[in-house]
């Protein structure tokens, strides 16, 4: 978190505030996204690109809207009541907020991992094979998918001899990596992670972070985190959200070393949040 002594004027660098590495392809293009619960608008017109095979971190103080933004990306927000949305979220060029979008189909392509490790009360094998099974994959193909997913989550070697034991026999960190493997099993293009390490001890946190950096070879990752160090360690680009707005978005290293906005600087130096 090295900071330059003088901060460039904001106005002249307006273009940089919303810039990431432009060469990379975008998976999501969010434009003017507004989300309200009843009369309470929590996202006030967010625009943000999410780039392919990158880890994009969403940071910001509690209540800034980063989790809400995350769950609109796979339409898990439809599980909440009384929501109003406007704007567009283009996923691979198609607006997922249009009415005929099937959320189940989208969620097959966009996996999600939650704060608390939440394996089902089933065996390790049945946990990972749940998604493909629901989507009608034939039984004989399941073990191959399970093996591939567990390998992608770097968990296979630890559990290969006890695939039919209960998922609850695993440690907390292993359970979270199992949940990641479960999300990978539907062969998604994007993995959304909502503070995936907040319930884990430091060692398990490192293992999961390690996994996240490896995942971007094959997948695109969007990571919500309240630990700025984590965002700095694993992400390629970072968006800082505050009070329902994207204050600043850019390449992670640049954002942490040379924030363009005063609010960003205050937040990453720990003055609030």
């Amino acid at each position: 978190m090295v900071k330059l002594a003088t901060r460039p004027e904001i106005e002249t660098h307006e273009a940089m505030v919303n810039s990431a590495t432009p060469q990379s392809e975008t998976v999501y293009q969010i434009e003017d996204l507004r989300v309200a619960y009843g009369n309470n608008e929590v996202l006030h017109g967010i625009s943000l690109p999410i780039r392919k095979n990158q880890v994009t971190a969403l940071i910001g103080p509690s209540g800034c809207g980063k989790s809400t933004l995350l769950k609109t990306l796979n339409l898990m927000i439809y599980a909440d009541e009384n929501i109003h949305m406007s704007g567009t979220i283009a996923f691979e060029g198609e607006n997922i907020l249009r009415e005929k979008q099937d959320p189940l189909d989208l969620r097959k392509r966009v996996g999600m991992v939650f704060q608390k490790p939440s394996p089902f009360r089933k065996s390790i094998f049945d946990n990972v094979s749940y998604g493909p099974k629901v989507h009608g994959v034939k039984k004989k193909d399941l073990s191959e998918i399970v093996e591939r997913s567990l390998k992608d989550a770097y968990l296979f070697d630890e559990v290969k001899d006890r695939l039919h034991d209960s998922a609850f026999s695993l440690s907390g960190g292993q359970q979270q990596r199992l949940c990641i493997a479960r999300a990978l099993a539907t062969s998604p293009e994007v993995i959304l992670m909502d503070e995936p390490t907040s319930a884990l001890d430091p060692k398990a946190t490192l293992a999961v972070e390690d996994l996240i950096s490896k995942l971007k070879e094959k997948y695109t990752v969007v990571l919500v985190t309240h630990q700025m160090e984590q965002a700095a360690r694993v992400s390629d680009s970072t968006a800082f959200l505050y009070m329902g707005n994207v204050v600043e978005h850019g390449e992670t290293h640049r954002l942490f070393s040379n924030p363009l906005r005063k609010q960003t600087e205050d937040y990453i130096t720990g003055r609030f949040g």
Binding site: M76, A79, F114, R121, Y130, G131, R182
Partner: protein, 306 residues
């Protein structure tokens, strides 16, 4: 200062008196369980040993005037009616619970939930009346109509295992529904979230994740329903026919009139002579054992759940 002290002492005495009274009240339930068990066993056990436990339990003839006391037909009657009732009632009860907790919009749930609770409060004799008038009539139409060729004439009166089971279903549904609903509500919402995020539909989430996770609670609900069903007396006497005969093996048996263990005691206690009376107490022992075993299973299962 003085005043303060006196008041303190007074409230201390009050406290210990109240505590003791509450303890005594709490003990009465344990005590009455003990007393009931003691009296039933005291009256019935000597008879069982004198008559022979195997002959008593597995004897197929019940003829008090000739001192023959075999309660096997009643055991079969109770078990048949209970199994059939659970067979019908458990799926319905669990389905209603799933609907109430997972699917019903709040406005609908608001109507159904109190209705279920009210159902629990209906006196069994009233349900029995309903059974005598409506259910017996329906079954009679079935057994004398399209099924008359297949059923012996004694099976065509309407009084039957089926009628008893339907009455039992009405009586155990509220229990099964409310306990199943608790179990389903206790499933962590993270499971549901995770299942939805993997692209499963609401229905797939329910039957692949929520219901399996609530399994032990649902089993407890059903077992408790079994306990209630086997102990039910009044309503079932009114519709089940009370014939001391073991029904023929096969599907026809659901149209057979039978007698339950509870019915046996309630029907004959009024005019029983000394030995006959002891035989009825012995019937009570068997019933008591059934219910103790079933309720113990429930307690173990519910402990596991929470």
């Amino acid at each position: 200062m003085m005043f303060q002290k006196v008041r303190n002492r007074k409230s201390n005495i009050e406290e210990s008196v109240v505590k003791k009274i509450l303890l005594i009240m709490a003990l009465t339930s344990v005590l009455s369980l003990g007393l009931i068990a003691f009296f039933i066993f005291m009256e019935g056990l000597p008879f069982m040993f004198n008559y022979g436990i195997t002959e008593f339990i597995f004897g197929t003839t019940w003829d008090p005037t000739n001192q023959v006391y075999g309660i096997f037909p009643m055991i079969v009657g109770s078990v048949l009616a209970t199994i059939l009732a659970i067979f019908i009632g458990a799926p319905i009860g669990i389905a209603v619970a799933v609907f109430l907790v997972e699917i019903a919009p709040p406005r609908v749930a608001k109507v159904i939930r109190p209705a279920v609770q009210l159902m629990e409060g209906i006196p069994s004799v009233v349900i029995g009346l309903f059974g005598m008038v409506i259910i017996l009539d329906l079954i009679r139409r079935l057994s004398r109509g399209p099924l008359s060729e297949f059923l012996p004439s004694t099976y065509q009166t309407g009084y039957s295992v089926l009628a008893g089971a339907i009455i039992l279903v009405i009586m155990i549904l509220p229990t099964i529904i409310s306990i199943s609903a608790d179990a389903i509500r206790a499933v962590p919402k993270e499971y549901k979230q995770a299942a939805l995020a993997l692209g499963s539909s609401q229905w797939q989430t329910i039957y692949r994740v929520v219901v399996p996770a609530a399994k032990s609670g649902l089993i407890a609900a059903v077992v408790l329903g079994v306990g209630r069903a086997i102990g039910e007396t009044m309503a079932i006497i009114m519709v089940i026919g009370n014939t001391v005969l073991i029904p023929e093996l096969g599907w026809e048996s659901i149209f057979a009139p039978v007698r339950t263990l509870t019915g046996n005691i309630a029907l004959e206690m009024g005019y029983a002579g000394p030995e006959h009376r002891q035989a009825l107490f012995a019937t009570g022992i068997i019933l008591f054992m059934f219910i103790i075993i079933i309720n113990s299973i429930t307690i173990v299962l519910r402990k596991k759940e929470y």
